[in-house]
Amino acid sequence: MPGKPGPRPGRRAAGRGTFPCAFAVDWTAITRQAIRAWRDLQEATELGACAVAALLVDSLTEDTIVERSWKGTGFDYWLAPKGSDETLFQNRARLEVSGILKGNEKDVMKRLAEKMAQADATHASLMKIVVIVEFGSPSSHLEQR
């Protein structure tokens, strides 16, 4: 952020969960226009988490985002094996993403437990990948179910 100290590009991040890993978080220069456009930090956190989750899923799993649907508060992302030729939502897995602006490992695990509990409570039949992204450390947790 121009004029303010903050995380620098290239910061190492821990990736936990089904596919433990470490990765570098990098980004292009942030302009004042970008800062003005993303003043809503909740929205910025959610969409930033979606972007990180999309990259993680693509790098760590056989799947990639192939479809979207609308759920009122935002998009619902759907995954399929790379190269899949199914249409719409047939044989897709669902991507559940949650972002935390600044937290610790405990916050990440609590958010993950909430997401996984939701999934279990409904006796879910759809395949699902849950990704929690925390921007303070930064760190992430990807769980495949």
Binding site: A37, R68, S69, W70, K71, G72, F75, D76, W78, T87, L88, F89, Q90, R92, R94, A119, T122, H123, A124, S125, L126
Partner: protein, 289 residues
């Protein structure tokens, strides 16, 4: 499925546009894009709704129902969510459909509670009472899009805006009808103006020799169109319309056409004053500003 997939892709692209417009603070464009997304997603969902292709069927119906709520189409949201539940949706999508259905039903209950008051608002207007039902529904839909949850004072505030917009639209439509009676063809225009515009015959004769735009401007003003309506009809600026009017008045004055002074007297008596922007000042010119 291919057609449904294409429609769905277009709907999602429309949402992208809507979100960009929202980030720019353009709420009208945001809502327009969202409504278009809803129409496309609804069409896609209804194509797949006839099949038993799960989860595509229920996901599309849930997505269309969510867009219906965002677009203020609450009754449509209820129908789409209910239809989604009629199939065999995966449990988590069924939960989301039930949540959407519950939300739509709660909004419809609120609509039923507030509707009589909002309808009465329009029934109290002499000029809008015949359209009270339609306008009350528009007010609710707009209020829901703009502010959720919508309280009665908020809906009445929106209803007031709807009433003003409806009156403006009616004035414009009336203006276009009058303008269509004064086409550019001088022969047709002259014949029609003799029939429709009550002027002394010497004025009609003199008008036949006026430049087309000047003649049409004068006749439209005689039919009580505002300068803004005349300008829109002639595809000129409001200032140009005022200049055309000035020219017509000047020509009549120079020609000393019999009957023109009587027309001025009529005007001074307040006969020609429908204009919302200014009153025509026949024979005396008018002040700009």
């Amino acid at each position: 499925m291919k057609r449904a997939s294409e429609l769905h892709d277009k709907a999602m692209a429309r949402i992208d546009h809507a979100l960009i417009e929202r980030a720019r603070g353009k709420s009208i464009l945001y809502q327009r894009n969202l409504r278009e997304a809803f129409q496309l997603e609804r069409e896609a969902a209804l194509l797949v709704a006839r099949t038993d292709l799960e989860p595509s069927r229920s996901v599309l119906l849930r997505s269309a129902a969510a867009l219906a709520i965002d677009s203020g189409e609450i009754e449509e949201a209820r129908k789409l969510a209910a239809r989604g539940l009629q199939g065999n949706p995966p449990p988590e999508i069924a939960d989301e459909l039930r949540a959407t259905l519950g939300r739509a039903e709660a909004e419809l209950a609120k609509f039923k509670e507030l509707y009589p008051t909002v309808r009465q608002f329009f029934l109290n207007s002499d000029d809008l009472q015949h359209d009270a039902n339609r306008l009350a529904q528009i007010a609710f839909r707009n209020a829901y899009r703009e502010l959720r949850p919508a309280s009665l004072p908020a809906v009445l505030e929106v209803a007031d805006r709807v009433a003003r917009k409806e009156r403006r639209a009616r004035r414009d439509r009336a203006g276009m009808r009058v303008a269509s009676r004064h086409p550019p063809d001088p022969d047709v225009s002259a014949a029609q103006s003799r029939r429709d515009v009550d002027l002394p015959e010497p004025l009609h004769q003199a008008l036949a020799d006026f430049p087309d735009q000047v003649r049409r401007c004068f006749l439209m003003r005689m039919e009580r169109l505002s300068f803004r309506q005349v300008a829109r009809s002639l595809r000129v600026s409001v200032d140009s319309a005022k200049s055309l009017w000035d020219e017509a008045v000047l020509r009549f004055s120079n020609l000393a056409v019999p009957g023109f002074q009587d027309l001025a007297a009529i005007d001074e008596g307040g006969e020609i004053k429908s204009d919302t922007t200014r009153k025509p000042m026949v024979g005396a010119g008018h002040q700009r500003g």
